[in-house]
């Protein structure tokens, strides 16, 4: 009986198996790269804002505390974006004619709010609370990175759940003394492991990995 398949079928099938496997692998690698890459996560991507606000200038050069503008960070789930009035408390006096600040002055004049683009945007099924993190000794820079060195603000971390959960599982690796929370330049000491365990006890930090802690 004659062969049903030609000899070349062997080669074709081998090649297609290899190409198929490689292709599937590539596809997965591509998906992974997309998922973790800056295109999707926006990590280190600067967003366009109505005013090119520089945290570096205001924090490092001027020495303004985080809480001067983010007023509710210690009391509310939301850290607070400053009202135009807060901007104008300085900028009615300094740089009061700078062209770059015209949107701020326009907002103050007309009563129309500035519309900032969200840099740190959690999905709607996640309920994050700033005040409790501040209270339990998690520094601003732990999540937001060195904002004091960002001329234009970007996201330092993915804010993915697997990133959050590192700390929720092992808070002792990240916790710092309460008086260092707003210190952007704080570096964990060599004995962080030891200090962390002590602070976890002292601040009554629970490794909250219950779903309802964040999702409800």
């Amino acid at each position: 009986m004659a062969q049903i398949f030609h000899r070349s079928t062997n080669t074709i099938s081998k090649v297609s198996i290899i190409v198929g496997a490689l292709g599937a692998g590539l596809l997965l690698a591509f998906a992974y790269a997309m998922d973790r890459g800056a295109y999707i996560t926006d990590v280190k991507v600067v967003k366009e804002q109505p005013v090119p606000f520089s945290h570096k200038h205001h924090v490092t050069d001027d020495g303004i505390d985080c809480r001067y503008c983010h007023t509710s960070v210690e009391t509310s789930s939301f850290a607070g974006i400053p009202a135009t009035e807060i901007c104008m408390s300085c900028h009615s006096q300094i740089w009061s004619n700078a062209a770059i600040l015209e949107p701020v002055r326009a907002s103050f004049r007309t009563g129309e709010s500035l519309e900032w683009t969200r840099v740190h945007d959690l999905p709607d099924f996640v309920f994050f609370n700033h005040s409790i993190h501040i209270n339990k000794g998690i520094g601003c820079a732990t999540c937001h990175g060195r904002v004091d060195q960002m001329p234009l603000t970007y996201k330092e971390n993915t804010l993915y759940m697997n990133w959050c959960i590192q700390c929720h599982r092992n808070p002792e690796k990240f916790v710092r003394p309460r008086d260092q929370v707003f210190n952007m330049a704080y570096e964990p000491p060599a004995n962080q492991e030891e200090l962390g365990k002590k602070l976890v006890q002292e601040y009554h930090i629970q490794s909250l990995t219950d779903c309802y802690t964040c999702h409800r």
Partner: protein, 1036 residues
């Protein structure tokens, strides 16, 4: 829908009478074991997708599966959309984004105000609670209050002033109203009429009276479709003057209700429900002692494995500084021992929640209640001959033994004579001044409203009315049909209407002005005892609405005054001017104006004229406001339309309620269509067979059949106002019922999520309970399974351990919890078709059981929410771990993990899980988004959901307590259901704290779990119901 087979009433009766009949039953269908009912039980997810009717075929299956896989993958690949943050330009003081504020305000219904606290998230009201400082609320609220928030955001509300249907402006209306005023002023006010609903607002009363003083020819008419007309006439008959009766149920041991549903409607019902329940919280210091239960009291057995959960060490020893407890918390302690219970006799023609709480329930036709009351009145006076009703002698004896501690209360739908009889009996029993006090009426101008409207219509027909200003009420829909209000209205040249919706009356008016919702208004209102509350706006009018005060100010020649100024000036004139600012701010903050409760007055009740005995001929018609949409004013509120009515769990409909015996006689079945013929008018309506209903009577609920209610409420049900005449507004005899062709489909929730006849409601009489406090655990199968029998190790809870108890002896089944939960947890409305498929989404439901024969069954209510089982069957079967146990024992439902297999719901023995078969939440109507709770996810299609014990509230309190480094105090966390509950039947707290109320209630002998034999060990447990029957009646 397929044709349903007829109910076999004969079979049902045999089952009920035979010993094999179930003790408790939910519906006649259950008793009849109809095919439909069985199908409903077998198939939890009834009416599933019909796309697969063609025989499955491998190729199609593969195509669809690969497509779904691909689409599922692709949809996951979204990039987050750009979002903006819009900060304030000038941030208002005290506004902290993320921290809600609470404002005291008040809502009126039928003129009676209830003090409320409204939650505001950055200026958006999102939730209503009762104001604990208001005497008519004490922190509780009912479903009308809860649902009012949805009405505020309703996109169907009137959004523009219209003139003959064309969009106009407020200024143009003001000009028109001012010229109407000028025209009337020339004639000294002749021809100018104002029509309002019941007005108790001191400011509005003063305004209108000012106009009447200025123009004596003008007239003020009042008409409330479902007002307290009979109570007014009864007081006139008994005292010769209008009075306001206030009852003190905390002082009453014996209560006789003459068709009065005082627990669920009428002035003061929230307070009365609380006082009534307080008299029924039977507590003994005999604690629950069966061995197995000891385990959850004493801590847990160590399992072979490491504990599955371990919270870090408790911090009792770490707490520093004084613990700040909210004041209401400190008052709570161990439940006081209480071994007595009040006794309630109810005589009524149509079942009500109050009737369900009765220790003795007598079913009489509406027209027979008067004779019953007269016989009781005679029997109280002294021994009389054998009367028509055999129970009277025993009740009279009971009442005589409780002189000064009993209450006779007459219902809103009983004629004036019954009210007068009740007043006279209270007088002769020495109750006046003890359990009943009288004050001046709370209305600004108490009148016989039915007469008032009839006069107005007569004048309109006679052409005596030039200008008519209607402030709310929708009279074109709700006025008695024989007055033909709409036709008379056409004869008035200038007619203006202020209303929330562009409704039936708006369509007949020249001018229509959208009304501001109470959450958008300044105003004032009196509570049931006269206490004044200021109505304070939470938000600027969404649709440019105006208040009655502003419209009347324009008529009074002050078009530029705002409602705020008018109210403030009115009170400034009454108060000490120097301290006025403090008075004003304090009254606004507290929600009550101090010392405004009306003082008690001395009045003497005359014995009413002997009852005219007019036995009803043939069928008797009873017209009553609908339990959930009332007189029709809530028709466009989806929450209230879908709220199951307490008595029959029907949604989205009204029906003709008749008793099973009458149904048998007339050869009718539930869902048959009939033609009601009454005094020459006919209406076609569907039938509902209601166990416990009086024979030869039909109850018909008003408020449906609206034509211009809005997208939700129009063309729902039938309009029973078409049978309502001014002579007999509550109905009368001579009704003819004629079966017509066709049938109707009702959407009820009483079969869905049923637990198939297991012994879930446990009851005993007070005497039985005293002999055997452990009655709830009597049967072998009810005994809990010892924990050592479990294969799995126990959870350990070293921090908090949340739990709940529901006292069935306090719960009157009113349904406030259901509405409160809906508002708090962003629960969508699904519509009638979906409810009929068993897909309603309420996280807490109130099951209703009957016990006994169908003529006069006992009624039991049982709220069921997620039991948060210790050994939760749902957790074991979820393939994606979307429902898991938390460290404080909550059964967590994680929406973002759920893929919609519904295995969890299949495995749930309590049937408390709800699945989003379709996209039920409205994601597109902008205005509705404002009313949602920002702390709860709005669920999408394909996701399972269920009660979370309001975990968002737990988390808020937990975070605050952690910040203050202290333990959460008992009573600090209140889930929405327990906060709303007028009877305080639902108690929530930490079971790990032996001093918490919930732990102490769980230690009570009456405490039991549902389906304990399954070893699910639920966190929600129930306190058994107790009846306190009169032994003399019980024997006979």
């Amino acid at each position: 829908m397929k044709e349903k087979p007829a109910l076999d009433l004969v079979k049902i009766r045999t089952r009920l009478e035979s010993a094999q009949g179930p003790l408790y039953w939910k519906s006649l269908e259950e008793l009849a074991e109809t095919e439909d009912f069985k199908a409903f039980l077998d198939d939890e997810f009834a009416e599933r997708s019909t796309d697969w009717q063609s025989p499955a075929n491998r190729r199609n299956f593969l195509k669809l599966m690969s497509a779904s896989l691909a689409f599922a993958g692709v949809t996951a690949c979204t990039k987050q959309p750009k979002e903006t943050i819009v900060p304030y330009v000038r941030q208002p003081e005290e506004f902290i984004p993320g921290v809600p504020l609470f404002y005291a305000t008040a809502m009126q219904m039928g003129g009676v105000g209830t003090g409320l606290l409204a939650t505001s998230h950055l200026g958006r009201p999102t939730k209503i609670e009762g104001n604990p400082d208001h005497p008519g609320s004490l922190g509780a609220s009912d479903y009308f209050h809860q649902a009012s928030i949805l009405t505020m955001y309703d996109p169907d509300r009137g959004q523009a002033v219209t003139n003959n249907g064309h969009i106009s402006s407020w200024v143009a209306f003001q000009a028109a109203l001012s010229s109407a005023r000028e025209r009337a002023a020339i004639k000294n006010g002749d021809g100018l009429r104002i029509l309002t609903e019941t007005v108790t607002s001191p400011t509005l009363t003063a305004q209108i009276q000012g106009i009447l003083k200025e123009m004596p020819g003008a007239k003020w008419h009042q008409y409330e479709a479902c007002g307290r007309h009979n109570a007014f006439k009864g007081a006139m008959a008994a005292f010769g003057r209008p009075v306001n009766a206030i009852y003190h149920f905390d002082q009453a041991d014996v209560i006789v209700s003459l068709d009065a549903d005082f627990l669920s409607c009428g002035p003061g019902n929230l307070l009365y429900a609380r006082q009534f329940a307080d008299k029924r919280r039977v507590m003994t210091n005999v604690t629950h002692t069966p061995q197995p239960k000891e385990n959850w009291q004493e801590g847990y057995q160590e399992g072979p494995d490491a504990p599955r959960h371990n919270q870090s060490a408790s911090y009792a020893e770490e707490a520093t500084g004084p613990v700040h407890l909210p004041p209401q918390v400190q008052a709570q302690g161990k439940p006081a021992e209480q071994t007595t219970q009040n006794r309630l006799y109810v005589v009524e023609p149509s079942p009500s929640p109050t009737g369900g709480m009765a220790d003795h329930h007598f079913v009489l036709r509406r027209s027979e209640v008067e004779a019953w009351a007269a016989e009781l009145s005679a029997a109280i006076g002294g021994p009389s001959g054998a009367g028509k009703f055999k129970e009277i002698a025993a009740i009279a004896k009971d009442l005589q033994a409780h002189k000064g501690s009993s209450i006779m209360i007459a219902g809103a739908h009983q004629p004036a004579n019954v009210h007068a009889l009740a007043h006279a009996m209270n007088h002769s029993l020495g109750n006046v001044g003890k359990t009943v006090t009288y004050t001046d009426p709370i209305e600004g101008n108490p009148t016989d409203q039915q007469q008032s409207l009839a006069d107005l219509v007569a004048d309109m027909n006679a052409g005596k009315v030039d200008s008519l200003l209607m402030l709310g009420g929708n009279p074109a829909y709700s006025a008695p049909v024989d007055l033909n209000f709409a036709a008379a209205l056409k004869k008035v040249p200038w007619r203006g209407y202020l209303g929330l919706f562009p409704d039936e009356t708006a369509a007949q008016s020249v001018w229509y002005v959208p009304e501001a919702h109470y959450l958008e208004s300044w105003g004032d209102v009196r509570g049931f005892d006269g206490t004044v509350s200021f109505v304070q706006p939470l938000i600027a009018p969404l649709y440019g609405g105006k208040t009655a005060i502003e419209v009347v100010a324009t008529l009074a020649g002050q078009p530029d005054k705002t409602a705020h100024d008018v109210v403030r000036e009115h009170w400034q004139a009454q108060a000490n001017a120097a301290a006025f600012d403090i008075f004003w701010k304090k009254a606004l903050h507290d929600g009550v104006v101090p010392n405004t409760a009306l003082p008690a007055i001395n009045v003497t009740a005359k014995a009413p004229a002997a009852a005219e005995s007019k036995p009803a001929q043939g069928m008797e018609l009873m017209l009553r406001p609908d339990p959930t949409i009332w007189d029709g004013s809530f028709a466009n509120n989806g929450w209230l339309q879908e709220l199951p009515k307490p008595q029959n769990k029907m949604t989205w409909d009204n029906a003709v309620w008749i008793s099973p015996t009458t149904a048998q006689k007339l050869n009718l079945n539930t869902e048959d269509m009939v033609e009601l013929k009454y005094q020459g008018r006919t209406v076609t309506a569907p039938v509902w067979i209601m166990p416990g209903h009086a024979n030869d009577s039909a109850t018909v609920h008003l408020g449906f059949g609206r034509t211009r209610a809005g997208h939700v409420g129009s063309e729902v049900g039938f309009n029973a106002y078409l049978l309502r005449t001014s002579a007999e507004p509550d109905g009368g005899s001579g009704l003819e019922i004629q079966k017509v062709s066709g049938s109707h489909t009702f959407a009820t929730t009483q079969h869905s999520q049923t637990m198939e006849g297991r012994d879930l409601v446990r009851t005993a009489t007070l005497e039985e309970y005293k002999k055997n406090p452990q009655y709830v655990d009597e049967k072998e199968e009810q005994k809990p399974i010892p924990t050592w029998m479990s294969l799995y190790p126990d959870y350990r809870y070293e921090g908090y351990k949340w739990g709940m108890t529901i006292d069935l002896n306090a719960c009157n089944g009113c349904g406030a919890c259901v509405a409160a939960c809906q508002s708090e947890n962003n629960i969508p409305v699904v519509g009638k078709v979906e409810v009929a498929r068993g897909r309603h989404m309420h996280w807490i439901r109130v099951d209703r059981y009957f016990k006994g024969n169908w003529d006069n069954p006992e009624l039991y209510y049982q709220p069921i929410n997620c039991m948060q089982c210790e050994n939760a069957p749902c957790e074991l079967v979820c393939p994606v771990a979307a429902t898991v146990h938390s460290g404080d024992g909550l059964n967590q439902m994680v929406y973002n993990r759920c893929v919609g297999t519904r295995y969890c719901s299949n495995n749930c023995p309590y049937k408390v899980r709800r699945f989003n078969f379709l996209l039920y939440s409205d994601w597109y109507t902008e205005s509705l988004k404002g009313g949602r709770n920002p702390n709860v996810t709005v669920r999408s299609r394909g996701v399972m959901e269920k009660c979370t014990y309001c975990v968002q509230r737990i988390n808020v309190v937990k975070i605050e307590s952690e910040k203050q480094n202290r333990r959460i105090a008992d009573g600090e966390i209140n889930p929405a259901c327990s906060q709303a509950c007028p009877a305080q039947a639902i108690v929530f707290g930490d079971i790990n704290d032996p001093k918490s109320r919930v732990a102490q209630l769980k230690a009570q002998a009456r405490n039991y779990s549902l389906l304990e034999e399954l070893n699910t060990r639920p966190r929600t447990t129930y306190l058994g119901r107790l009846r306190n029957p009169n032994p003399e009646i019980e024997k006979g």
